[in-house]
């Protein structure tokens, strides 16, 4: 079926007004030999058939609500999403509108994103937030762009901790391949004993940006204050990639002195959705706002004296600054920024604190019980939030296969990214994991041959 609301009679009247005989006559500018190709695609489905077909395909997946008990995180987390969130997102006024270029008739989107910016600055402690990026990885790459622009290309080195999400580091490498940037610290040989300050050996007067993760990819919580002080002494900026759920409990990156705080806000109301779309948040200090990519909403008044909101500092962006812009980004993740805002408002301060506390408590219960199993153990002693590394008596890939055979989606196999950690499993626990589920995991692992 199609969604074309024009009857044959109307079509003929319109063709007459245009002055052509048939629809095909409208396409004479197109080279005749390539005009009207036969497309080899399946025949059209009705809505009823499409709904059934898509449901069939979806049901051939094993999902973490109906089929599998999941302890998998590593950058995408299974959290509870209050019912209100999707009800608000499904309002056509929000999801069928475009970028709020006409503020008189877009105040809904504009105020919602202004509130999103405010929620993110209050969460991270930073001074400004943009209207969002594609995801946590690209937000991190945009932090590199900011630093590059801030130093006007005079500093060209990025120091990345090896415990920043491997895919995020990969994206930074892709993004920066035309910029002549040197990347240091970005390797798969990770020394689990080395603290964050060991990164300083790589930081010099050429360093524009240091990137660390909080909690790090292995779940460890570090206070980066000393590292940031030392990096600042070398003139470098510091970007912290933060998990927003952890920020509900932990001291803010701003209080450690971070210059840029980015991350993946998927945990705030966005479904796992097989990896996207998610929500990259980007916050920084006011002094860097002109080098920040992405859309930005500011408060103002309208001609009637009413408080209102507009896209502001747009001359930074690609449609005006073209090849001199910090980034080519145009689209943000508007609807998902709304999603995060509704999630945070609905749970509110108390509900959010409960989520963070449940994640922390359950992860610690799981860690404690798992480490009691013969052959298993925790491989670091630093404080952690809701993710931790479990040492296994055999390769993590084999442990995961065994768990999967028993209906459990195990943790993330760290050997995929760090060859020396083939027996290490990154385990994530959220409020969605009941004590029963954790006990089941422990019981099944106890029985592993």
């Amino acid at each position: 079926m199609t969604y074309i609301p024009i009857s044959p009679k109307e079509r003929d009247a319109m063709l007459k007004t245009v002055g052509v005989k048939s629809l095909d006559d409208l396409f004479e500018a197109i080279p005749a030999k390539h005009r009207f190709p036969k497309l080899d695609l399946p025949p059209a489905l009705t809505e009823m058939e499409a709904a059934a077909h898509l449901a069939d395909m979806a049901s051939s997946n094993e999902n973490v609500r109906e089929h599998l008990i999941s302890f998998l995180g590593a950058g995408a987390y299974h959290h509870y999403v209050p019912s209100v969130v999707d009800h608000m997102l499904r309002r056509g006024e929000f999801f069928t509108a475009y970028t709020p270029y006409q503020p008189e008739i877009s105040q809904g989107t504009l105020q919602a994103i202004f509130e999103y910016q405010s929620l993110m600055t209050n969460l991270t402690g930073m001074e400004v937030s943009n209207a969002s990026h594609y995801d946590g990885a690209t937000a991190t790459a945009e932090a590199v762009n900011l630093a590059f622009a801030q130093f006007r290309g005079k500093r060209k080195k990025v120091v990345m901790s090896p415990t920043v999400h491997p895919q995020y580091r990969e994206v930074i490498r892709t993004y920066s391949q035309g910029m002549g940037i040197e990347e240091a610290g970005d390797n798969s040989n990770v020394d689990l004993e080395a603290g964050p300050e060991s990164l300083m050996a790589l930081v010099d007067e050429q360093t524009m940006l240091v990137v660390v993760q909080y909690p790090d990819f292995f779940g460890r919580i570090y206070d980066y204050t000393k590292l940031i002080d030392d990096a600042h002494a070398k003139g470098a900026l510091v970007c912290i990639v933060a998990n927003p759920t952890a920020l509900l409990m932990l001291k803010t990156p701003a209080s450690m002195g971070a210059d840029i705080v980015v991350g993946e806000a998927q945990p705030f109301g966005i479904p796992l959705w097989y990896g996207g779309p998610y929500l990259g948040f980007f916050t920084t200090k006011k002094s860097y706002v002109h080098k920040m990519a992405g859309r930005l909403i500011g408060e103002t008044v309208d001609a009637r004296g009413q408080r209102s909101y507009v896209l502001t500092l747009t001359a930074r962006e690609q449609h005006i600054k073209r090849e001199r812009a910090t980034s080519n980004i145009c689209t943000n993740q508007g609807l998902l920024a709304l999603c995060a805002s509704v999630y945070m408002s609905t749970l509110g301060k108390t509900g959010l604190q409960q989520v963070a506390n449940l994640c922390y408590q359950k992860a610690h219960y799981a860690a404690s019980e798992l480490s009691k199993i013969d052959g298993f153990g925790l491989c670091f002693s630093e404080p952690f939030f809701h993710e931790f590394v479990l040492c296994c008596p055999k390769p993590a890939s084999e442990v995961n296969q065994y768990l999967l055979d028993n209906g459990i989606l195990g943790g993330y196999d760290l050997g995929k990214d760090y060859p020396s950690l083939a027996n290490y499993l990154l385990v994530a626990v959220t409020e969605m994991n009941s004590k029963d589920e954790i006990d089941t995991l422990v019981e099944i692992l106890k029985e592993m041959e």
């Binding site: 079926m1 009247a13 245009v18 629809l23 409208l26 500018a29 080279p31 005009r35 009207f36 190709p37 499409a50 709904a51 898509l54 395909m57 979806a58 049901s59 997946n61 094993e62 999902n63 999941s70 998998l72 995408a76 209100v84 009800h87 006024e93 929000f94 999801f95 475009y98 709020p100 270029y101 919602a112 001074e127 937030s129 209207a131 995801d135 999400h165 994206v171 892709t174 993004y175 391949q177 910029m179 509900l248 001291k251 959705w273 990896g275 996207g276 998610y278 500011g298 009637r304 090849e323 080519n328 689209t331 508007g334 609807l335 408002s345 959010l352 409960q354 408590q361 359950k362 989606l409």
Partner: protein, 495 residues
Amino acid sequence: MATIVEPTIFELSSPGRLGVTMPASDVPEVALPPKDLLRSELPLPELAEVDVVRHYTKLSKFNYSVDDGFYPLGSCTMKYNPKINEDTCRLPGYLFTHPLQPVETVQGNLALMFELQDWLKEISGFAGVTLQPAAGAHGEFTGVLMMAAYHKLRGDTKRTKMLIPDAAHGTNPASVGMLGYSVVTIPSDSRGNVDLKALEAACDGTVVGMMLTNPNTLGMFDENIEKVIALVHKCGGLMYGDGANLNALLGIVRPGDLGFDVMHFNLHKTFSVPHGGGGPGSGPVGVSQHLVDFLPSPLVGIIEEGDDDTAPLYGFISPKNSIGRMKAFHGHFGGGLVRAYTYIAMHGPDGLKAISQYAVLNANYLQARLRDTYHIPYDRICMHEFVMEGQFAGSDIRALDIAKRLMDYKFHPPTNYFPLIVHEALMIEPTETENKDTLDRFADALIKIAEEAKTQPDLVKNAPSTTPFGRMDEVKAARELVLCCWLPENYEEMV
């Protein structure tokens, strides 16, 4: 003090008010991390569920959307977003699958992605497609990275210039800027085509390629497209197609057949993924055979062939000379790919062609109805959109005023002041999902506004007057830079 029409969620907050709460913990309690690792306060709003619902419902009513009415925003393809897509993309099998699950457990997702890659190839005439890019601009960046990698692998290191027509979207030069290339602007000729002489003069051994939107932002299909592509190829450059305007070409012509080497799709324009107030989009990229090895990693492929009895096993593959990863995980699966898949499946080959036929008919119909009232600088059969001047001889009414006045007639204004090569541009893209009555009402409104510009210019200059908000003070916003709000200062003492 400004009047507050709707307080922010921070202003609506009240200490101790509860919304959705979480169950009590079912595990033995352990101590929190040391105090110096904890935050001392969490200054976030406290509201009840009903407060939240009323707040966002009220905000939604300040928006104008496709569901509200006609939204002819040029180059944005604001077509109707089918409601069935909202249901299919929320099926539990899609919502609750983790991106790092073993491929054996997500064959439904991978089959959908594999098939969508194939469909997009067939629609566009390309040999390979990546679904990873998150939006059109992200796809452009992906494409330009592949062009750079192609030249680099051939040892062709002298190429540093990208040719871009003067009518191009700003994302084109900005994508090029991210690679440190320089931009050479190619003018348009009097029929709205690429100026062939200027193009020929710019083509040499330093050219990376050309980025061309076709139909371009004037809504014109380049009448010399094959010559343009031949000139770029002759000097060793690659041809990038900006797929922003693909809604004019479905089943009409395949960019790959014309000789384009790379093109991004905007699933949120052509394939009905809703625009979401500015995103998320989805920007897959198609490439011709000689660029397939450079596609981002990973792609969805068949890792174990099937036979008559068993389905193939889908998984991830890495192209040989891949530019790398563009984002975490696999693209905008749920919000982008599932909706686009549903849409294409429901249209089939004939339905897709009808989309473009009617998108073009609607644009030409509006152009014909407005031709006598507004000056159309490039006046020939247009594709899915056209550009007219929003100004009149002897009047100081500008395109901006006309755009604002349209709001009083309950229409979303067209794109204005773009493309830059038309003075006071109004760029109108009706899409195929509007009926004749709507188009007539819109044309009538524009004709009436042209009349008002003569008889009641102040009415037009002060528009809109019937919307909940009037024109904004953009200078104040940029000078004062109030970019976020907080809980009130005496919040804890509030009752």
